[in-house]
């Protein structure tokens, strides 16, 4: 029968596709069901303004696991990642701080502002690289449950213990501190320069509902620091064709491995019989059956929308209900007739090929958080922008450009709720903020797309628009993600699996979740 498979994967985001590809690679007959008309989930590129391709949600890549790129032969399927060579932070005094792709050049730039920080920068970079190397193995394993006595967990603990034991005492302690402290405290130990601390602290708050002074943000900073493109450690990149290009290359690889990808196939619910997941029912009434079913949707959507509560134990339901998913970020995508001209560094230059970060100080970002934590919009948000058309000219018509602005904070639970006027006001605050540093921006705007958390939820399905499918808070990481006892991608329902960013090791275009989950499914 046509609707019988070995495996059904719900959701065609990057994790769902990677999961499907690994299952197909092991000889399984797999179908991916995607609600929308295109694959990618939050990693999609769409032509919203005619001629201008927007990397609508997720816009840069650094965490995609190199083993996945190799195993799925993604370059063969069109994956090209172009490096983002710099970060440019305009300052309120009219100057700027830049980080270039050359360590010495960056040091010289920091030295221009603070010789002390230029010295510290070396030691800091080395320390962070060591820490990131120390955490990395955890990304490729199922975190052991330290409270369990099962042989599997004990073995995992031993492995992790062996790994911890291989660290020097100093590194182990630094790592423990890094897991628990705030990004601001971490950076203040090293640096004095406001735009340097501000820009670096921003990696600690991306996607979280925390300010840089909140403990736990140093880990998020490290999470982003672990990025690697194709094995090159610590580099951010932009995919040719936008993040949708990544999704398309994974889909292409999956299809080549025999995966069937069905678009416009929205799953209404999972069919459970005798405590076992046996299939799914689509919104259009079709039913598909399979031996295993994996959901790449976030845990709340998966268990509270697709499964009838009677199939789940109370403890588990409670854990999923209290799983925190507060969305905190928005996206403003601009179609431009010309490049923004920054008063701090006029003209077209290398800065336009890298990230442009509006993060003049820790206090600037913290104040933006202060507004959001009570449900208000910040007057001056933190913005991380790139100009994809400078890296990949195909993204916009000749001579014209697209600008992708990631913005924080935009609280999902805005006081009084979101409406069109508030969405536009949010968009205006972003444009106004950028225009303070690049005055020609306003007249250059041909079109714009403003996406706030309810939009992200509506379009991608991410609950509350949380880009990590669940906050990266300490109590939602490792063996606690998404719920205690279910970190191994299994669920209380036999034959039903999870493989999305809501599982270990969390969000970002990493793919580790989809891959690790597939390896578990294959173990049976």
């Amino acid at each position: 029968m046509a609707n019988n498979y070995d495996a059904i994967v719900i959701g065609g985001g990057h994790n769902g596709l990677i999961h499907a590809a690994y299952l197909a690679r092991a000889g399984k007959k797999v179908v991916v069901l995607e609600r929308r008309h295109l694959v990618g989930g939050a990693a999609v590129t769409e032509e919203i303004v005619p001629g201008f391709k927007f990397t609508e949600f997720s816009y840069v890549v650094s965490l995609l696991r190199p083993e996945i790129i190799r195993d799925l032969e993604l370059p063969k399927h069109g994956l090209t990642i172009l490096p983002l060579p710099s970060t440019f932070t305009p300052m309120d005094n009219g100057d700027y701080l830049a980080a270039w792709d050359d360590h010495d050049k960056t040091r010289r730039e920091i030295w221009r502002h603070s010789p002390k920080d230029a010295d510290a920068y070396d030691a800091y970079s080395r320390a962070m690289a060591r820490m990131a190397m120390a955490v990395k193995p955890i990304l490729s394993m199922i975190p052991p449950d330290p409270t369990s006595l099962s042989p599997k967990d004990l073995f995992g603990l031993l492995k992790l213990g062996g790994h911890a034991g291989s660290l020097s005492e100093k590194d182990f302690h630094n790592l423990a501190k890094l897991m628990t402290m705030s990004a601001a405290d971490l950076l203040e130990e090293w640096f004095e320069l406001d735009p340097l601390k501000g820009t670096k602290s921003a990696s600690g708050i991306i996607g979280t509902f925390l300010g840089p002074r909140s403990p736990g943000t140093a880990y998020v900073l490290l999470h982003h620091y672990m990025g690697e493109i194709d094995g090159a450690f610590r580099a951010w990149g932009f995919a040719k064709g936008g993040t949708g290009g990544i999704s398309n290359s994974i889909a292409s690889s999956a299809r080549a491995l025999g995966v069937e990808v069905r678009l416009n196939a929205s799953v209404a619910h999972v069919i459970v019989k005798g405590g076992r997941a046996v299939g799914v029912a689509l919104e259009n009434g079709d039913e598909l059956y399979a031996k295993t079913i994996s959901s790449s949707l976030d845990p709340k959507r998966t268990f509270l929308k697709l499964i009838e509560p009677r199939h789940l134990p109370d403890d588990f339901l409670t854990a999923i209900k209290r799983y925190r998913t507060r969305g905190s970020s928005g996206k403003v995508n601009l179609a431009l007739s010309e490049l923004p001209d920054f008063t701090a560094l006029p003209g077209v230059g290398p800065l336009h090929r890298g990230a442009i970060s509006i993060s003049p100080s820790i206090e600037y970002i913290e104040r933006a958080y202060d507004a959001a934590k009570y449900g208000d919009l910040p007057a001056r948000p933190y913005i991380d922008s790139i100009l994809p058309s400078m890296i990949d000219p195909d993204m916009a018509p000749p001579g014209q450009h697209v600008m992708s602005c990631f913005v924080q904070y935009a609280p999902y639970h805005l006081n009084g709720g979101w409406d069109d006027a508030k969405r536009e006001a949010f968009g205006d605050s972003v444009v106004d903020t950028l225009a303070q540093y690049a005055p020609n921006l306003k007249r250059a705007i041909i079109g714009r797309q403003v996406l706030v958390p309810p939009d992200i939820e509506r379009i991608t399905g991410l609950t509350e628009g949380n880009i990590f499918a669940g906050e990266l808070a300490l109590h939602q990481l490792f063996f606690l993600r998404p719920a205690p006892g279910y970190t191994d991608y299994r669920t209380p329902i036999r034959g039903f699996w999870q493989c999305g960013s809501g599982t270990h090791p969390g969000g970002g275009i990493m793919g580790a979740n989809g891959r690790l989950a597939a390896l578990e499914v294959l173990k049976g």
Partner: protein, 517 residues
């Protein structure tokens, strides 16, 4: 010169005295040196005005029950009472978590029925997690990750004990500890007043708001110290606790010298050999034990020159951001707190009407400013013990947050008093007219008077990255220091702050163990 002492203890705060008592009890020759002319450190009751006995800084305090038993402190006059917690509502009224269990649920139910139903399960879980912490607090934290063979059995035993709590509770413990109070309370309660009062415990003495991760840890830490959400009042004032400890220590044979300020730790090579007093006098000992905070000990008494630069850097980076101001008022009568019962007034009174109010109080301090709408913890000791003030007079003792050390200005004492009196006047309108005397201690005053670096009550913030094996500094969690024979016994060491005596007791255990080895 022959060495007369096995150990010199620098500082006669409750932890220094606890270490002294345990060492003396084990037969050691101990000398305690105290800079001030009164014992107790920040747990002290003094007379700033004739006829009054004022809890200068700490107004509650219990010590771990096992320490009270070990040192037989009841014999030295220590009498304590558990007191309730009352959440004050601006404009009158209060939520009194004071009397027995049934009445407590009823009091909560008057504000929110669901909260009342959830209360027993919440307290049961918190008690379990605090019990888990108590097991971890009962001994110096093992050195990790390279565990000494000698320590492995103790660690294994601890592991088994914790497993004995049951898998479900242990997971809950691990899950809850790194949370923010916001995250914890969102899972349980709805009433603003209840959430505000509980959240306040999670930030007491801490430069964080209740939305900061790890504030649930401080909440549970203080719960573990008190073996309860509720605090303890000492008969005769908090200082009576220190007096009892001093008597126990001297009773076991320790020698105590007041007015003896230590200027430096005397080194012989890379070992501590004794101390030099401010007056130039030198006293030698086998071991020197500092109850001062780690920064003061290492950078002040030892000096950076004798230490590895990286260690000095780490010491400078210990987070000690003091944020509590103390206001003591003498009143010519009991102020009228409308809607609060007499029983409620006898306990700890908290002004923190909601979690957001508490977070906003922190917001101001985050940028170096004073909180205009502060969080207050208030004690009215003269209700239970009229003898602490002249006939008919009363004392009111306030911890005010947030007054950040790093933003302090010359006029802060005046401003803090005005802010506190104004906030109290919203609750007891007749209070301002009753003030006879006032004493304000800003974080800088706390530093000067009690030697607390940056005015931090805990000798190091009780944040996740400064606890367990990271307290006071990575690699030095066993009360030892890079200077041989120099030990730390203050709350800057594991398990940390609050009036519990655990750091002092664990330090004595470590010293005795090292001596045997």
């Amino acid at each position: 010169m022959s060495t007369k002492y096995d150990a010199i203890i620098i500082g006669a705060g409750h932890n220094g005295l606890t270490t002294a008592a345990y060492l003396a009890r084990a037969g050691q020759r101990v000398l305690v040196l105290e800079r001030r002319d009164v014992v107790g450190g920040s747990v002290v009751t003094e007379s700033p005005w004739p006829g009054y006995r004022v809890d200068t800084l700490q107004h509650f305090g219990g010590l771990r029950p096992d320490i009270v038993r070990d040192l037989d402190l009841a014999r030295f006059g220590l009498t304590t009472t558990r007191v309730g917690l009352t959440a004050l509502q601006p404009g009158g009224g209060a939520l009194e978590l004071g009397s027995g269990g049934g009445a407590r649920a009823q009091a909560i139910g008057a504000f929110n029925r669901t909260d009342a139903e959830r209360w027993p399960a919440f307290t049961a879980l918190m008690a379990k997690v605090a019990g888990f912490l108590n097991e971890v607090y009962a001994a110096p934290f093992p050195r990790v990750p390279q565990i000494d063979a000698a320590e492995a059995p103790a660690l294994a035993q601890l592991g088994l004990k914790l497993r004995g709590l049951g898998k479900k509770d242990m997971i809950e413990a691990v899950r809850v500890l790194p949370m923010s109070m916001l995250e914890l309370l969102d899972e349980w309660f709805e009433s603003d007043l209840l959430r505000g009062a509980l959240a306040a415990r999670g930030v007491h003495g801490l430069m964080q708001g209740p939305m900061g991760a790890g504030t649930a840890f401080l909440f549970l830490h203080l719960w573990a110290n008190n073996d309860s959400l509720f605090q303890t009042r000492v008969k005769g004032g908090a200082g009576a606790l220190s007096e009892a400890l001093a008597q126990a220590a001297t009773g076991f044979g320790a020698e105590l010298r007041l007015g003896a300020e230590v200027a430096q730790v005397k080194l012989s090579g890379d070992r501590a050999a004794g101390v030099v007093l401010a007056n130039g006098e030198e006293i030698t000992a086998q071991r020197v034990v500092s109850a001062l905070d780690p920064r003061r000990t290492f950078l002040g008494l030892v000096g950076p020159d004798a230490l590895d630069p990286e260690f000095v850097w780490a010491t400078q980076n210990i987070k000690l951001r003091g944020c509590v101001a103390k206001v003591n008022l003498a009143l010519d009568g009991l102020p009228t707190f409308t809607g609060v019962t007499d029983a409620g007034l006898r306990g700890a009174l908290t002004l923190s009407p909601s979690l957001n109010d508490l977070e906003r109080a922190y917001d101001a301090a985050k940028y170096g400013g004073l909180s205009e709408r502060p969080y207050l913890e208030v004690s009215l000791p003269t209700l239970a013990e009229p003898g602490l003030a002249p006939d008919g007079k009363h004392l009111l003792s306030v911890h005010m947050q947030f007054a950040p050390y790093r933003g302090e200005q010359a006029d802060w004492a005046t401003r803090i008093e005005a802010i506190v009196v104004n906030a109290l006047a919203q609750l007891a309108p007749d209070l301002p007219g009753r003030i006879l005397h006032s004493q304000v201690l800003t974080p800088r005053d706390l530093e000067t008077r009690f030697g607390l670096s940056e005015g931090n009550l805990y000798h190091g913030e009780m944040m996740l990255d400064q606890i367990l094996f990271m307290r006071p500094l990575s690699g030095w969690a066993q009360h030892r220091t890079p200077i041989e024979n120099l030990y730390l016994c203050g709350p800057g060491t594991h398990p940390g702050g609050g009036v519990s005596g655990a750091s002092g007791r664990n330090a004595a255990r470590q010293i005795l163990k090292d001596q045997k080895a």
